[in-house]
């Protein structure tokens, strides 16, 4: 079914693209006067009539196949009610309707055997056909991957429209031009050669601008739809994009040869337009057009594939580059610096080789050698091991239930070798580099497959996937807790780095909320308390709750000893009106106890979701309300808040 869908979508896309390109080149080349050229004009119009029917026919088949997929029943494709549902009740169906309405109008317009002997009538006829075909092609973007972007949809669709229309002008134009050049390079087409050369020169100039627009919109599309190098190399969508780029390279080479060698040879005023050169240009443009049609196969396949940003990347290489090495191994810094300098010198030499006329080859060779040596010197130290799961996204988010579950599993399976703190004996410290710098997906691979040479067993069979991710979340929390030792009762202004694990706040049977619900809105003072030791402090917090609330702080109280009677136990005088967790407090205490152990602790979490200050109760007692307010004021004065932390560890 996918093959059929790809085939009909390609046929539809190609026919729309050819329609746009045909009328674009006709208008670009202006009204032909020579007999052969007029024949070409008529041939393009006749071909366009056929193309509109191919576009509509393949569009109808595409709709029927989509209906069958949409309804998950092959026979639905032949049920009028199902097809009508697919057209009228879905957004892609409505876009399909609008596009095919335009194609019907275009078909009717082309079927009209109008007299175009007068110049303005000829321009109106070709211009109107171009406008209708362009509109029908551009509307495809309204139901494309770009239209599914949640933020900045209009911009993404505008970029996609530019890319699609650019493709129509360029690829369709190439095919129309190849037909003109073919006609002109025949023995009886000599009368059209000057016209063909003029058309080729105009198209060459226009194609340069269109190609620049295509590249810019392609890069922007890739940034939106692919997002990362891992997704580019590790997903089907990304690999199709790489294949597209691979096909584009020979096309650009052919275009460059046409533009810099063949066209000037044909355009020189003293040289008559030679048939042999014309045939060479025809062959090159034809080859360029054929490769461009292959490009559209890949583009169609990309449209039918899940965008890379939504797909799980499977990293194809056994290594990756990591700049963290520069931080962890100072000796590598000078090599990276030297390599970078050599590569820059090589690039300068390469640019110079394009500008100089004498000794170009030695300069070019020297530049390439310098770039290669620079890469060898600078890049090799940055190479680290990588695995297929390196960029795999963890199943559970970085939240207390997962961390607490990971702690239980860790104590059962890992503590024997790695120790309770993760820094056990001769093995690598799990909290420190290089382990802490590894991607979560790499640790997932090592836990799943084991490291036989170091005696680490594989847990791929013994633990489920979610359990392995829980262990990774716990290992990350171990590292975070170790780092949190440096956090004290004073907020370090503009320095947010410690992500607060998310948790659920359940007050009685009310619908639970989450810590992340406060992001971007309010700060949170998380209070872990024990009664009766914390009673005085809880009373103080209850009295200052209104002031803290006004300056943007929500207090969330969590009893260290879980109790469904937690609210009642706090008493009624003064009344405690902030949320008190009555259900699920165990996971919060387990996780945040790693950051701030003790019978009483208070943790200040900023609006972005980072832990910014910790008051640990076992030492110098608890802060006064005014002390908390002072730290909150510091956070309120921060001018550039950091981005929200990732919900998943990486």
């Amino acid at each position: 079914m996918k093959g059929l869908l790809l085939g009909v979508f390609w046929a539809h896309l190609v026919s729309c693209v050819l329609l746009v390109g045909a009328f674009f080149v006709l208008l670009l080349a202006s009204r032909p006067m020579a007999t052969t050229a007029r024949c070409w004009d008529r041939r393009l119009v006749r071909g366009s009539r056929l193309l509109v029917f191919v576009a509509m026919g393949s569009g109808v088949v595409w709709l029927l196949v989509r209906t069958a997929i949409f309804e998950n029943r092959p026979q639905a494709a032949l049920e009028p009610r199902a097809v009508s549902r697919a057209v009228l009740d879905t957004w892609p169906g409505l876009v399909w309707l609008a596009r095919h309405g335009l194609l019907v109008v275009l078909a009717a317009f082309l079927a009209m055997r109008a007299n175009v002997a007068e110049r303005r009538n000829w321009i109106a006829a070709r211009g109107e056909a171009l406008a209708l075909a362009t509109l029908a092609l551009a509307l495809t973007s309204a139901s494309s991957h770009a239209a599914a972007i949640t933020s900045g949809t209009l911009w993404a669709v505008a970029v996609d429209v530019t890319h699609l229309v650019g493709t129509g002008l360029w690829v369709g134009g190439l095919v129309a031009l190849a037909l003109l050049l073919g006609a002109a390079s025949r023995e009886d087409g000599a009368d059209a050669r000057p016209y063909a050369v003029l058309a080729a020169r105009r198209f060459s100039r226009a194609a340069l601008i269109v190609m620049l627009l295509l590249m810019a919109s392609g890069v922007l599309n890739a940034i939106t739809q692919v997002e990362s190098v891992a997704a580019l190399a590790g997903t089907t969508h990304g690999r199709l994009l790489l294949a597209k780029l691979a096909v584009l390279v020979p096309i650009l080479v052919l275009a460059a040869v046409n533009r810099t060698r063949i066209l000037p040879a044909l355009s020189a005023p003293s040289v008559p337009v030679g048939r042999a050169t014309m045939r060479r240009l025809t062959a090159f443009v034809g080859l360029e057009a054929a490769l461009a049609l292959v490009l559209i196969v890949l583009a169609a396949a990309m449209t039918l594939t899940t965008p890379a940003r939504h797909a799980e990347p499977a990293w194809p290489l056994p290594f990756r580059l990591s700049l963290d090495v520069l931080v962890d191994v100072p000796a590598t810094r000078w090599r990276a610096l030297l390599g970078g300098q050599l590569a820059v010198a090589g690039l300068v030499a390469l640019i110079a080789s394009c500008l100089v006329r004498r000794r170009r080859v030695p300069v070019l060779a020297g530049g390439l050698a310098l770039v290669a040596i620079g890469a060898g010197v600078g890049i090799f130290p940055l190479v680290v091991d990588a695995y297929p799961t390196t960029y795999k996204r963890p199943l559970p988010t970085y939240q207390v239930a997962s961390i607490a579950s990971g702690m239980t599993i860790y104590r059962e399976h890992c503590v024997g070798c790695h120790g309770a703190t993760g820094a056990g004996g001769p093995l690598a410290d799990l909290r420190a580099p290089p382990t802490s710098r590894r991607h979560a997906g790499e640790i997932f691979w090592l836990i799943s497959r084991g490291i036989p040479e170091r005696g680490m067993p594989d847990f791929g069979i013994r633990l489920g996937e979610a359990q392995r991710w829980d262990v990774i979340n716990f290992i990350r929390a171990l590292g975070a807790a170790e780092g949190a030792r440096t956090l004290g009762s004073q907020v370090d202004r503009d320095r947010a780095w410690l992500a607060a694990p998310d948790f659920t706040v359940a007050v009685g049977p009310l619908a639970p909320g989450a810590l992340r619900d406060h992001r971007g809105r309010r700060m949170v003072l998380l209070v872990l308390y024990t009664l009766p030791e914390s009673r005085a402090r809880m009373a103080e917090l209850a009295l200052s709750y209104d002031v803290l609330s006004v300056i943007g702080v929500e207090i969330i109280a969590v009893p260290i000893h879980a109790s469904s009677e937690a609210i009642r136990e706090l008493g009624s005088s003064p009344p405690v009106l902030f949320p008190v967790v009555t259900d699920g407090s165990g996971d919060i205490v387990t996780t945040y106890g790693m950051f701030a152990p003790g019978p009483h602790a208070e943790i200040l979490i900023d609006r972005q979701g980072y832990i910014r200050a910790i008051w640990r109760g076992e030492g110098g007692g608890m802060p006064r309300a005014s002390m908390v307010q002072a730290q909150v004021e510091k956070l309120n004065e921060e001018k550039s808040p950091p981005p929200f932390p990732d919900d998943h560890v990486h």
Partner: protein, 133 residues
């Protein structure tokens, strides 16, 4: 008719068709959506007014139902952390006037409760009935 005139008429027809389509269909859909929202709010209000009907009810009085956890009690006030009360308040902690001082006798701090509020506007809504959730 010359082709350039045909092209002009065609473009004009498409533009007018698009404009009329939006005016007649798009705007109508928006208006219907607004009307539907207003009608639904009216029905909900009438349902609340019907629920408030009874001996001693004031004109235009409505009744809202809510669920929450008791946080503090006073003779004239009940402080409740509650879920969203449709048509009245979002989920939050609110102090409500108690219609009767005896209401607090049946509840304790920390109790999950269902409660009824009655009033003509949000500001004068008072708790008239409480039961365990």
């Amino acid at each position: 008719m010359p082709v350039w005139q045909v092209a002009l008429v065609l473009n004009f027809t498409l533009a007018v068709g698009l404009g009329l389509g939006y005016a007649g269909w798009g705007r109508r859909a928006e208006a219907l959506d607004r009307e539907f929202g207003a009608a639904r709010a009216q029905v909900e209000r009438l349902e609340r007014e019907r629920a408030a009907c009874g001996p001693g009810a004031r004109a235009g009085e409505q009744q809202w139902e809510g669920r929450g956890v008791v946080r503090a009690t006073y003779p004239q006030l009940l402080v409740i952390t509650h879920e969203e009360i449709r048509g009245l308040l979002p989920a939050r902690t609110t102090s409500f006037r108690a219609a009767s001082p005896t209401l607090r006798e049946s509840i304790r701090i920390g109790d999950p409760i269902r409660f009824s509020l009655r009033g003509t506007v949000a500001d004068d809504a008072a708790v008239v009935a409480v039961e365990q959730w």
